[in-house]
């Protein structure tokens, strides 16, 4: 038995070690970028990962990929690994803003340029930070439905009842999105007094169950809500489960349609805009952000700047029922949607 087991063990050990080695790339002269991401738990991050790796590889850059499995300590170890391997630059999607600060300091202390993608560190003074401008993207999406609401207001003279599903307000993304929403509402109320009633705020804490409970209560208390903005597209299925039984989940042009906008630009939002159920969504332009990240990092590498510090904003754009035909290809969610992501 021992003999059999011993042979088996040695065989397994050798195979486990040697087989993957045959696939190793030995390229030495090209630029190598280390890309460490916290995980791929949502379609947004799947798309972000794809955008970065494809953008880099399209330029002939070697990419070392590391998945931190939502563990910032593991991510720190991975970054140290990358530094030890002598990579030319680092891109991270950190687990959180706190650990991002430590990781940036670690990389800069080793004179390795580093960029943070889409999830900003708490201290943005160090490293390259590429982040979506949540205020701007929200304003663009809400502006589109506000225009439609204005037409309705001018026709009926009845005030529009707006509702916003807010995210967890400890999150800077949620704060920015709320700010963008109120900027538009306030601007229209200044120009067209009485157009919007006081907005109803529904807390989601970025949790679908919390959003469902609070939205049910809000719609029951205010059944005439006709203008809705959700701080994240992932809540559209939740919104549907509340509106559909009340006959308010209907395509635009039909009586009872609620003007709706969201933010993120995911595959579900793409499908709903195509079906006419949602009017607009603010899009974090992942492809643009990936390019921005790569270009700035490559610039730092080329210039020999080991500690580039800059915040780069993605203004985002709104995908609407009006521009869907020619702009949907720029939205990451639509790319996933057309690849059959929602059918999986």
């Amino acid at each position: 038995m021992l003999r059999k087991f011993g042979k088996l063990f040695i065989l397994v050990a050798l195979i486990a070690l040697l087989v993957p080695m045959t696939f190793v790339s030995t390229a030495q002269d090209q630029i190598t970028i280390c890309f460490s991401f916290q995980d791929l738990e949502t379609e947004f991050w799947v798309a972000g990962h794809k955008a970065i790796t494809e953008t880099l590889r399209a330029q002939g850059i070697e990419v070392l990929e590391y998945n931190a499995n939502e563990n910032p300590d593991r991510q720190l170890e991975q970054i140290r690994d990358c530094i030890a391997q002598g990579v030319d630059g680092i891109i991270i999607i950190p687990q959180d803003g706190d650990s991002a600060v430590t990781i940036i300091n670690e990389a800069q202390a080793a004179d390795t340029p580093i960029a943070v993608f889409n999830r900003p560190p708490n201290d943005r003074s160090r490293g390259i930070t590429v982040v979506a401008d949540n205020v701007s993207a929200t304003e663009q999406a809400v502006e589109f439905i506000a225009q439609k609401a204005l037409t309705k207001f001018e026709t009926t003279g009845e005030p529009i009842i707006p509702l916003i599903v807010v995210g967890a307000l400890q999150d800077t993304n949620a704060i920015g999105r709320r700010e963008g929403f109120f900027n538009v509402i306030n601007r229209y109320n200044e120009n067209y007094p009485g157009m919007f009633a006081t907005p109803i705020e529904v807390a989601s804490e970025w949790d679908a169950a919390t959003a469902l409970a609070n939205l049910e209560a809000a719609i029951t208390a205010n059944p005439n809500v006709d203008f809705l903005y959700t701080s994240s597209d992932f809540l559209f299925p939740t919104i549907r489960s509340v509106l559909e039984p009340r006959g308010k989940w209907v395509p635009m042009g039909q009586p009872g349609h609620v003007l709706m906008a969201g933010l993120d630009g995911d595959a579900t939002a793409c499908m709903l805009i195509e079906q006419g159920l949602v009017d607009a969504t603010g899009v974090q332009n992942l492809f643009f952000e990936a390019e921005l990240t790569m270009n700035r990092l490559l610039q730092a590498i080329e210039e020999g700047d080991p500690q580039p510090n800059e915040v780069l904003l993605d203004p985002g754009f709104a995908l609407t029922a009006g521009n869907f035909i020619w702009q949907s290809n720029d939205m990451w969610g639509c790319v996933l949607y057309r690849e059959g992501f929602l059918d999986q």
Binding site: M1, L2, R3, F5, G6, F9, I10, V12, A13, A16, L17, L18, P20, M21, F23, V24, S25, L64, E65, Y66, N67, N69, E70, N71, P72, D73, R74, L76, E77, Q78, R80, D81, I83, A84, Q85, G86, D96, D98, S99, V101, T102, A109, A110, D111, T112, N122, L169, Q170
Partner: protein, 395 residues
């Protein structure tokens, strides 16, 4: 007269029995006999680590680069600290699933005490807000002894949680798996509740030193420029190294050179027989779980300090690495066998394995699968050795 080693190390005795059993079946070919001896040696994992390192360095020259070696050593120390405690528990025939939650709760407990600044909108949902913590940080913010007191608190907290585990196991006759599983759930939840799921930053610089401070740094190679690049100065002896190695040496001494250590092996081999022989099993079990909690707290200090935050989910996903390192190092999941030396080799092997798998640029999912296969293989090896030893003893 027998030496202390011969008297007190049943593990070594067991290994000798295994080796004897194997030798009686040794293959005749010299190279096969050599392989058998290697396979059954106490140093098998060390040999395997060296072979892996040498072979892999041939394919990946960066593995043997001084920077990489220094980096991998820095990854060994925090894992070693917590694996030492788990080794003690496994030798008893128990298991401590709560170590990761002990790490989490001690991490945030200490951090909340010594943090120098807290963000109001982030932490005002914490139950401690306004009483023990506020915008100016924790209770010890500004206190010159803050780090010392907070570290002592973390160690005490970890020890007490471990002691509670041991108490519940011995007094209520509950299965270690169940007690420590419940502790894992409860203390993980406590860590999240205390911090409202937020990381605690703003830790004092002296504390951060414990996780990444160098005692001796080296530069290797010719000095071609007057200024040496920072990435070329390598930490060699660090605070985590000193702390983890001290802990391991003390644990090695307890296990191999004291009556308490003999009692542990005895209980792990046959608890009932030990009790009949007068071994105070309840006290030993309680102290071992307390020690495991202490080691988890030491590890939490090292991890928190190097990450510069107290983290309510610290240790998440680490349990497989902790138990895996101990098992790879030859600690038996059935109890009665294991050494700190073996655990050190297991941790080193595990870290090297990860390093090699990363160097191979494999998918993260493949890496996890390979880790699982290696742990399973190590567990199978342990079972085979134990069976052989038992067979030989019966014979």
């Amino acid at each position: 007269m027998s030496t202390i080693d011969e008297r007190v190390e049943p593990a070594a005795g067991l290994m000798t029995a295994a080796t004897r059993g194997a030798r009686s079946r040794q293959p005749s070919a010299p190279w096969m006999a050599f392989l058998w001896r290697l396979l059954l040696s106490d140093y098998f994992v060390l040999y395997l680590t060296i072979i892996f390192f040498v072979v892999a360095s041939f394919f990946f020259p960066t593995l043997s680069a001084p920077g990489n070696i220094s980096n991998q050593l820095s990854n060994i120390w925090p894992l070693l600290a917590v694996a030492v405690g788990q080794t003690f528990v496994l030798i008893l025939g128990g298991i401590d699933l709560s170590v990761t939650s002990i790490m989490a709760v001690t991490s945030v407990g200490g951090a909340l005490l010594m943090t120098q600044v807290l963000d109001g909108p982030t932490f005002d949902k914490s139950p401690l807000w306004g009483t023990l913590i506020n915008e100016n940080g924790g209770l010890l913010s500004g206190n010159p002894q803050a780090v010392l007191i907070a570290v002592a608190f973390m160690l005490l907290l970890g020890t007490l949680i471990g002691l509670w585990n041991g108490f519940a196991i011995t007094r209520f006759k509950m299965a270690p798996f169940m007690v420590t599983l419940v502790s894992m759930i409860v203390f993980s939840a406590l860590a999240l509740w205390l911090t409202a799921s937020r990381n605690v930053s703003g830790l004092p610089a002296d504390f951060v030193l414990l996780g990444k401070g160098d005692i001796v740094s080296v530069f290797l190679g010719p000095k071609l420029n007057p200024d040496i690049a920072r990435r070329d100065v390598l930490p060699f002896i660090t605070y985590p190294f000193a702390i983890a190695v001290t802990l391991a040496v003390v644990a090695h001494y307890i296990l191999g050179r004291t009556v308490f250590g003999r009692h542990m092996y005895s209980i792990g081999t046959n608890r009932r027989a030990s009790e009949i022989s007068g071994v105070p099993s309840q006290r030993v079990i309680m102290l071992v779980y307390a020690f495991s909690g202490f080691c988890a707290a030491v590890s939490a200090i090292l991890y928190s300090a190097r990450l510069e935050i107290g983290r309510p989910s610290l240790g998440d996903g680490l349990l497989m690495d902790i138990i895996g390192a101990a098992v790879i190092g030859g600690t038996s999941l059935f109890g009665g066998k294991g050494t700190i030396k073996g655990t050190f080799f297991g941790v080193a092997f595990f870290i090297l394995l990860l390093n090699i798998l990363n160097a191979m640029r494999l998918s993260p999912f493949v890496i996890d699968a390979v880790k699982g296969v290696v742990i399973l293989t190590a567990a199978l090896l342990d079972i085979t050795r134990t069976r052989l030893a038992n067979r030989e003893q019966r014979a």
